[in-house]
């Protein structure tokens, strides 16, 4: 685990980043092995979808309040896989943990700065302070 500590405009930044080693490679290989199974399922769905006409819901208004009571199928699948996934980076600003997002292109965003991506975690941390916090 690599650890970086810095101060920016009076705020403390701590980054903890796992070092990439053999463990992640193994996990990625496992993930690749699973792909054909997912693709096959998708193909079935798509063939069905193409045969079907679009269905037009009569009333969208009913959709949103029902959200809270639903279990999310995809989320359940993801949770099953969780223990096998590698640990991602962790970021703290003034000891508050920040939910970091590792984008597909290798850049970083966060739950709090969701619509912009940054080349490094340090860039993300500095931008989060610039955008959301007064000078400390």
């Amino acid at each position: 685990m690599a650890r970086v500590q810095e101060s920016h405009k009076g705020h403390d930044i701590v980054i903890e980043e796992p070092t990439v080693g053999g463990e992640r490679r193994v996990l990625e290989e496992e993930a690749q092995e699973e792909e054909p199974r997912l693709s096959q399922e998708r193909r079935v769905l798509e063939e069905e979808a193409q045969e079907e006409e679009p269905r037009l819901p009569q009333e969208f208004r009913l959709f949103i309040p029902a959200v809270g009571g639903e279990r999310r199928v995809l989320e359940e699948e993801a949770q099953e896989e969780e223990p096998r996934l590698a640990q991602g980076p962790r970021l703290f600003i003034d000891e508050q943990p920040i939910k970091v997002i590792r984008n597909s292109d290798g850049t970083y965003s966060s739950e709090g700065v969701f619509y912009t991506s940054y080349p490094t975690l340090l860039d993300l941390a500095r931008a989060s302070i610039d955008i959301h916090l007064p000078e400390g």
Partner: protein, 438 residues
């Protein structure tokens, strides 16, 4: 079918008609029998936040962003929101207004800036470091209402560290000091196809990733849709961005971009891919949270007109569509309008520059009605109480208020063209069979 018109928010009254029902949504419980249930507005904020699924390794398997479902997911989200606005306002024709942010920084020839941050929606946030970004004016300012007022704009759904009050920091994000330009919009609208592999934020071309705003990649600043979030700043930066009602004006324009892109590229698939994207993002996948009960797929929402709304820049009426009193169609260049008057009950074809009437339906003092583009090619004003057959053919009334008397042209449709003519075209548009003024 009823077709709601979504107007530019800058036209008089549109923002007012939006703000009041939004406040009513904030005051309404999502479960009327449970006083502790969240309010309806917050349900939308929570639904948007729930699209995020950050994995232990940092990847976000997001249902609504960074992938092809970005457009259809938000289309369903906005449609549901719009129907709630219609419900709480008692106005079934209320259309979400859009904020065309691309005109707000442009020099002439864009005469109608679309700036929404006025006394109603509120302006920029405070620069006081103790309440940095706090919106101090307008209907959504935290201090505009007393504690306990159900319309008080409290941010109940928050990400870690967010304040309970609405925040804006216009132009503060150093990566987005300006709004996207018309050239940015045109660049996105010119991009084809809809999306390309690997169908995520690293896709290097395609309309979706251009318009969502991940091209070019960091360290380049955010673009198009993303840039507007960053430009407004404050509460628009996190995943809880619908906390700021301007979110809906912004995304209404983003939805319009998808409709405009489809119209510009009739030879392109309206959505891609059919396979190869992560679950929830393929054409036939169900989109969470509508995957369990409602089972909505991108496939189901490709055509916005079939969902019962149109944008004010769309200059036609298709078979089966209706124009209600008080609604209008503009020509594409917005120099002419066809209005079905809500008092005079007359169809007016008007040149906007000098309000000159070019043609009218001569139906003054008739009872309330609605204009219907029949599937047999006849354009008719029916009495308002004539039943609509709900997709099973045309309505029937032996003595309608007015008609073009042009049945026998199945699939014909109405266009208001840039020369100021109201034209009925044959299916496919190869020739016309009726026009006014004659």
């Amino acid at each position: 079918m009823k077709v709601v018109m979504r107007p530019n928010q800058n036209a008089p009254g549109n923002l007012y008609r939006f703000v009041e029902p939004v406040l009513n949504l904030k005051a309404a419980k999502s479960n009327s029998s449970d006083p502790n249930s969240p309010n309806l507005y917050d349900e939308f904020v929570a639904a948007h936040l729930r699209t995020e699924h950050i994995q232990p390794d940092g990847r976000d398997l997001n249902d609504a962003h960074r992938g092809p479902a970005f457009f259809p997911w938000h289309r369903v989200f906005l449609k549901a929101f719009e129907e709630w606005l219609q419900f709480v306002s008692g106005n079934p024709l209320l259309g979400l207004p859009y904020w065309d942010w691309s005109v707000d920084q442009s020099p002439a020839p864009y005469p109608q800036p679309s700036w929404p941050f006025n006394s109603s929606l509120g302006g920029d946030g405070s620069s006081d470091p103790h309440v940095l970004g706090k919106v101090m004016d307008g209907e959504f300012a935290y201090d505009a209402r007393k504690d306990g007022d159900p319309k008080k704009w409290v941010l109940n759904v928050r990400t870690l560290g967010e304040a309970p009050y609405l925040r804006r920091r216009l132009r503060n994000d150093p990566d987005a000091p300006t709004l996207p330009t018309p050239a940015d919009v045109q660049a996105a609208l010119s991009a084809t196809p809809y999306d390309v592999a690997p169908f995520d934020d690293s896709s290097t071309s395609g309309f979706r990733n251009m318009a969502e705003g991940w091209i070019p990649k960091a360290p380049a600043p955010p673009h198009t849709h993303n840039r507007v979030h960053a430009y407004v700043g404050g509460s628009m930066e996190p995943m809880t961005s619908p906390n700021d009602p301007v979110f809906f004006l912004h995304h209404c324009f983003v939805d319009k971009l998808w409709a405009d892109w489809q119209a510009r590229h009739p030879d392109q698939a309206r959505y891609l891919p059919t396979q190869g994207a992560r679950p929830g993002h393929n054409l036939g996948d169900y989109m969470p949270p509508w995957n369990a009960q409602q089972k909505i797929r991108p496939l189901d929402v490709l055509d916005h007109r079939k969902l019962g709304y149109r944008y004010d820049t769309e200059y036609y009426l298709l078979p089966g569509e209706e124009l209600y009193q008080g609604q209008w169609i503009w020509s594409a260049d917005k120099k002419y309008s066809l209005l079905y008057g809500d008092r005079e009950r007359v169809l007016w074809l008007e040149r906007i520059s000098d309000r000159a009437t070019l043609w009218q339906s001569d139906t003054t003092n008739q009872p309330p009605g609605r204009l219907f583009m029949r599937e047999d090619g006849n354009l008719v004003i029916y009495h308002i109480d004539v039943p609509y057959p709900h997709g099973k053919g045309d309505p029937y009334e032996p003595n309608p208020i007015w008609e073009s008397k042009t049945s026998g042209h199945p699939g014909g449709y109405l266009v208001l063209n840039n020369q100021g003519y109201l034209v009925l075209y044959e299916r496919g548009g190869a020739s016309y069979y009726w026009y006014r003024p004659s």
